[in-house]
């Protein structure tokens, strides 16, 4: 036994221990890198092309209606060009050059029992849009990722638990926890309070189309993520236990009652809103239609204007879009691929030229630093003392 122990002092001759793992030695030299560059260029170009194509298949109309309230009049007027981005695949149709119009009207809103300033936008759809069709709103300069804002909510409350004022105070809803009377807000927190409350109507067909229906329904159901269903539940609060958050007061002027007590599990717009965006510019799904084809023609949409964005220099836009494998319209990705592929080729060519005109064999001792300096390697005073 002892003998074996003695013997085992000799280190075993394994490739790991002797640092002799089987290896090969690729080195970054022009010779190895140049082909790499060209290969990359060749790979990236078609990918970029494909992505561009996919992006071009997406039909998209974006109308910035921030200034509707100030610019539009009560009759249709052309929306200034800068507010509109219309990217349809076939702009040559009869509606191809149609400039969207807007007008400001007042519409009675039954849920608020009051007239609401509404922006009605008339726009053309030059081609048939295949389902699914989505209606988004796009906000800019809205900081949903503000450190205080982003966690200003109470998960338990959203899940339906009847959180007391004390519970709320201990949660994350600051600063919108309770009102002056100590009643908790429901739902509490900054996020819920600032719920985007512009209302979008379904599309009203003005011209074109084959069938007789003059309304193209856009549904506000199924817009939230399935996983959010677990997050929002019907509350166990009694209506008098809680008060609506300050921004909701217009909707619930007399507070909550048994009838109007909001059911968060079905308020998909809130669910969407409460999935906070990572960047200050973001899109949120408002309505969708997964079934019907939106035929080419003129359409109008009514947007009830409630949400103030000018106060913070933001904008709000309506986005009507179809979807491709890549999601929405995203020409940048494809472009980026193509640009990089071009850069690769250019770089490759530059290196090649340099290599051709100024060849330099790396494995040459004449480039060694100690061959070019004086030969005595012993450290010298000048350097060391």
């Amino acid at each position: 036994m002892a003998k074996e122990a003695q013997k085992s002092r000799k280190p075993p001759n394994t490739s790991f221990r002797q640092q002799r793992l089987k290896s090969w030695q690729p080195i970054l030299t022009p010779r190895t890198v140049l082909p790499l560059l060209f290969v990359l260029g060749i790979i990236f170009a078609p990918i970029g092309g494909g992505l561009l194509y996919a992006s071009s298949q997406v039909q998209e109309l974006v109308i910035d209606y921030t200034d509707c309230s100030s610019v539009a009049t009560s009759t249709y007027s052309e929306i200034p060009n800068s507010y509109v981005k219309s990217r349809f695949s076939n702009m040559q149709s009869i509606y191809g050059n149609y400039v969207p119009h807007w007008k400001l009207i007042s519409v009675y809103d039954s849920s608020l029992s009051t007239d609401v300033t509404t922006c009605q936008i008339k726009f053309a759809v030059p081609v048939n849009l295949n389902p699914p069709l989505f209606m988004y709103y796009r906000l800019t300069n809205f900081y949903q990722n503000h450190r205080r804002y982003v966690k200003s909510l109470d998960e338990e409350q959203l899940r339906g638990e009847a959180r007391t004022a004390e519970d709320i105070k201990g949660g994350g809803c600051s600063p919108l926890e309770t009102n002056e009377d100590g009643k908790p807000y429901y739902p509490c927190g900054l996020i819920a309070n600032s719920l985007f409350n512009d209302s979008f109507s379904s599309l009203e067909r003005l011209e074109g189309g084959n069938d007789s229906l003059n309304e193209f329904a856009m549904y506000d159901t199924n817009i939230a993520w399935p996983s959010d269903k677990h997050r929002f539940k019907r509350t166990q609060y009694q209506p008098d236990e809680v008060v609506p958050p300050p921004n909701w007061v217009a909707r619930y002027p007399n507070g909550y009652t048994v009838e109007n007590m909001p059911d968060l599990s079905s308020m998909e717009n809130l669910q969407v809103w409460m999935r906070t965006a990572g960047l200050p510019t973001f899109n949120k799904l408002a309505r969708r239609n997964d079934v019907d084809v939106l035929e080419a023609g003129l359409y109008s949409v009514k947007i009830g204007l409630h949400f103030p964005v000018k106060a913070y220099d933001g904008t709000k836009s309506l986005v009507l879009t179809t979807r491709s494998v890549l999601g929405g319209k995203n020409p940048f990705l494809g472009l980026a691929y193509i640009i990089v592929s071009i850069i690769c080729v250019i770089l490759g060519s530059l290196f090649t030229i340099r290599h051709l005109f100024q060849p330099r064999k790396l494995a040459d001792h004449r480039y060694l630093t100690w061959d070019t300096e004086t030969n005595n390697l012993a450290p010298r005073t000048e350097e060391r003392v």
């Binding site: 640092q19 450190r147 600032s194 986005v319 990705l333 010298r380």
Partner: protein, 1580 residues
Amino acid sequence: MGVDDTSIQPRLSSETTHSLSIQEQQTSNHGGIMSKKHKKNRNRPRVRFFTSDNENKEEEEHHVSESDDAQSVRTINEQLGLDDIRAIDNADFSVLNEPPPAHDASDTYESASSMRKALSADAEQDNNVHVSFQDGFAMEIPLQNLPPPVEENAPQTQRLFIPPELLRIKKKRRLHFFNPMQWLGDKIAAFSNKDHRYLSSGNRRRIIINPESCESQIDSRNGKPFIGNEIITSRYTKYNFLPLQIIAQFSKVANCYFLLISILQMIPGWSTTGTYTTIIPLLLFITISICREGYDSCRRSSLDRVENANQVKVLRHVRNEFPVAKKTLRTRFHRRHPSSGMTKCTMDSKESVETKEVKDTTKEFKEAAFTATEPLEASAPPASTSLNTVVEETSTATVGPAPSIEATIAPSDTDSVRPTVNADPSAIPSTFFWSECDWKDVRVGDIIRLTSDEAVPADVIALSCSSPIGAMYVETAALDGETSLKTKLINSTLQKRCCTVDKITKLRGECISEDPNGDLYNFTGVFNLEDCKHEIPLSNNDIIYRGSIIRNTKELFALVVFTGEETKIRMNAVQKVHVKTPVMQKITNGIVSFIFVFVLSMAIFCTAAYFVWQNNNEDKLWYMFGNHLSVMPVLISFIILFNTMVPISLYVSMEVIRAFQSFLIQNDLDMYYEPTATHAVVRTSTILEDLGQVTHIFSDKTGTLTDNIMLFRHLIVAGQSWQHLGPEKPKLYVPGAKPGDKLEEYNDPELEGTTVQMLRCMHENPYTNFSKMVRMFLLNLALCHTCFPTLDEETDSYKYQTTSPDELALVHTAQQLGYVVTERDVDSVSIRQHYPLDSYSKPTTKSYRILNVIEFNSKRKRMSVIVRMPNGRICLFCKGADSVIIPRLRLNKLAHKKLNTVNQQKNLKKSVEIDRAIARHSQSTARPSLTASRPSMNRHRRDYIQNMNSWLDERRANILGPRPRSSTSVLQPRRVAPMARHSLAYGENVQSFSGHQHQHRRNNSFARNFNEAITKDDAAMFESTFSNLNSFASEGLRTLLYTHRYLTEEEYSEWKSLNDEAASSLTNRQELVEAAAELIETKLELTGATAIEDKLQDGVPETINAIQRAGISFWMLTGDKRETAINIGHSCGIIKEFSTVVILGVRDPSEGSDESVKGGKRLSMDHHNFTDPFSIMIDQLVSSHEAIRLKKLAHLVLVVDGSTLEDIEADEDLSRLFLNVVVEANAVICCRASPMQKAQMVGKIRESIDKSVTLAIGDGANDIAMIQEAHVGIGIAGREGLQAARSSDFSIARFKFMVKLLFCHGRWNYVRLSKYILGTFYKELYFFLQQAIFQRFAGYTGTSLYENWSLTCFNTLFSSLCVICIGIFDKDLSAATLISVPELYQTGITNEAFNWPVYLGSMAVGFSQGFLVFYCAYAVFGLRDLNDGTLFAIGQLLFTISVILINVKLMFLELRPMTIVPFIVVGLTVFVWFLFNIFISQEYSGSVVYLAKSQFIHHFGRNAAWWFSLFFIVITALLVDVSAQLMRRSVKPTDTDIFANMENDAFVRSRFEQESSEFLRSETADEEKQVEDFLAFREV
């Protein structure tokens, strides 16, 4: 008293001085601590020479005789040409008048210089200069009260001018931050162990000798008992460990930083990245560190415990009745208070006794009782009194300083004492007993008994030993590394007075010694015995230091003088062992602080930006309800957000890497030494990368470079050199051979020129002149030595006991050549003669009566025996160094002439060598490039290969010197420097090649014919002898000349009477004997010469060559003599044939060696008209510097010895000059250096040379201090035990393993760690930059881009493996390349792999990648995506990109050899990352902000845009990296890049592999491949 005289501190009468000054002190102190009895005796006025008190008559007489003696000394000295000693006697007295001098630098210099001046004639300055050590020692008052400086002493003011630029020492740039933790730690440490050792006492250490007393003696310096003999090397005690460790841990900047961060993080509401993500890993890390320290400390203290518990016999006294004592006796009184140093009296102790101790003591008492019965009669009072009177008579006769050799020539006195000595010495009176005592309980003043092979527990003064003449042998390997035994002759008076225990118990008096100090070569003290009127002076000869081992001495009584920490060995140990920190840590710390500042400024910037944003935006954000953040939370949250730019994992993973690196070093088969089954051991894993940055190597000689085996190589008889092949090759002396085995194979032509041939030659023509000379020579060899033969019954051969391995080799050779020393008495030697080549030959035994032996000493450098031959003639045999023998030859004029011719030739040759070397150096610079046109690839390749070949050859030649250049052919297998390999083992050094070798060959082939002719021609014989000697010396062989002279009876008897007179002289006997010897050792006939090789370890010259090629300055520090050191310097290649050797401070060129002459020519120093050694040194240093500057020197080797070094140290200007020149020298040899000096030298270089990384390598206990002092300490686990290895950082079995250790492991580890640190900083910067950029889109509010758990795991799960693997697997160049091109080691020395530019470059890459990645992701995904624009999706995209990018970049672009590892690492990490994503997407719903649940699986994970963005960004970012690297490589390739490319070439690779085969195990598989490559190429 003339002031002039005071400047001279005479050595020869130093004893006198001592006794005087000591008495003076006693006078002033006599009222003090002395015992009453003592006081009574000394009560009268003691100012001896200044009173005319009648009572002092005796002493006056003494004084007179003393000055008489001094007179006689003077005559002798004058005779020897020592005029400087003129005023000795006056100086003695004046010293007493002078106040003790202030000990500042100038004083030291001046006194030292004057001292030096006075003694410059004395070559051996061992005993005269008191060491003045570093600052810590400044308190110490010089041993001999040095006189104050005197202006009249003109010579010292005329010092040579030193050019001011050579005095400049750039102060090492060092930022001194006040570290409160460090300060606190120092305070605590200082509180727990105060160092009193360097306190000085006005009066010196006074030890009362009274065996009956059992009280601890008081140290007059602090009024406390003397320090105990316990040795504590562990830095911590049980109680201070934890606080000290915690302080130590938090005195590290990084730990403090993390602690701060974790505290901030735990303040609720401030952190956006979790609460405990810093504190937990930090605590874990610190706990592990503390545990490791704790383990180490435990190990040390258990070793201490073992050492402290060693047993020794101490004389103790029982005052009470026997049975009573039995109960109360405690031997282990220290157990309770180990550190108190206070020893309570054994008998008075009333404390309870542990049962075990009682048992011990009972046993002892039984022994004591057993031995106590009979000796009572033997030591009856009358006998002892009579003895005392005898002693008294003797001492009055031998007044004053009694040289220790006295005992040998006072036979009449010793005879009367002898019988008592021979009686049982351990017999002691009943009240005394030998107590078996732990080492730690030994006290100052104890008398101990040591036996053979016992280690000495403390510094002791030898009182008496079992040898009749008081001779004993001590092995001091642990102290000075010399393995040869030292003979000590005990002072005869002491020997007589202490020869039995009985006498010892009667001893009363005191011993006065110097204060504790670290000087191993000097000791002064004095014994005052009550019943002995005169003091007994003590010198270095009388003291035996702790750590020595008693050899060949049956029994020894000794008095303990210094104990514990005050022993010389402990004083020589580095007390405050500095915790070794890697050199690279400095720059790492710099970068860490830089990053910290960066983090801070980034946090401040973001905070400011937040407030700007708040002004412009936030106030308008109605949805925020006016909810602002205040300054602190923002700032702190940013600090927390960015803090991980310095990750804890940097330190944790570093530990992991180091563990692996250590593992690899320990498992390296190339560093495994089969014969002793030793593999390399890493003991300090924190400094692994320092191995790759060494600038100075300090090496011990014995046991490190050499094996301490002497081999007889050559002998020269009649001008012809004969090689001795040793006993092995042709079996010359075959003890067991049957008669008739005539060994015919000796006709082999191989044996031409060997001793075998010589013997045959002699045998066949026995009556020629030549044969006579050979016989004379062999007889000389067999007679002129001091070995004692013992017959080994088993092998029927003789073994010899001797103090010097050289002599052993000589006598063994004589034995092998047929002159076997079979017996040796005091006055006769028997030699058995036979013809070893023929076992038929009948041996004849002759007896030679030894008439006189004139012993060898380092001053005489020769030894003689006068023998009465069997035929009745008297013959003197003398052997010695050529420098002393040649002037004493009969034909000395002729010899001198011939010597000069030989030297001239040699100098000429050397000059040519130097010029050639210089020319080579400049040539290679100007060599034109050879890439003109290339007709074909094939042709190009051939050119390339030829080019490479010649280049590699040239590289080696530049250092090695010229070698045959014929071998540029590809297929010729190349051995590495074949000459250096076998040369020394098997004959001629081919390095000094052809020339000598051929000459010898030719000579020898003609030998038979010329044998006779040359024996008649003295001139030719001299010339041939000297030229052979010269060539041997330059190979590093130790040469000795053998001479003889027949004496007539009259001549001899005349001399004998003279010699006897000298020998019986009472004072200065040594000098007189030497003077007498001088008279007879003249008119010598040259018999022959020998050359002995101090066998080097294999591979040493190659290793040193490689080290020098690598640009590392090599220092050899040895305790050996200068000549030996220079010899070894030659043989191991420190001194090359084109080297210029400058021996510092040697005035007379012939005094040193011929080297300085050669050097002188070159250095224009041939005008040695300086007398002042300082001027000589300055001249030497300045002119060496000048010569280097003007490129007149090819290779400068400085030789300096210990005492010169002390002088240099003492003088500020000189030491600066020295430092400035020493860094220029290619190599330095430092001889006669004490362990402390070695350590100081290392420390000096370490401290004062910027960016120096020192490495000390040694094998013995004497190297420990040096090993601990250096940045890197390497121990050779070799023959002298494991002490050095144990306290070293790394231990290896052989010196040559240094090559693999430094050039491969060191460099690899350095590069690995550099890459690791760079990689870590890169990835952190890159990663957190995105956080910072993101803040722009989050209103600078501090929202984290990444989800908390991902963030927490980033450093551990997703990016640790890659950096760790870089730290383990990176091998930027293969071992073969690194070893065959040691110049590559410069990478580490110049810190090429890790410095600020490199760091900033890598950061620039990280920076650009960070921006690129973030904005790409923003543009192509974040801004565009309709559904997944959540924080989590964007964060995870960037995170995923980071994980992949970092892993791929580090593994494929940074890690050099592509193995399976990168694939595993990248695959595993990416896999784990996605697994993690799936996991949190599935399970984790806790996060309010990031809402991770189901996102990956159901949302962005299914989003093609997300994946396309990922792919695109990763590739683009990598492209940036690749282009950057390619640019750098093609614009400014580093040496590493070039060699990496070269390595890819099959031919170059195989060439490298061959060149390094000396140090690497060959791989058979690869070898086959090489052959294939060769063949393939050949066909091309």
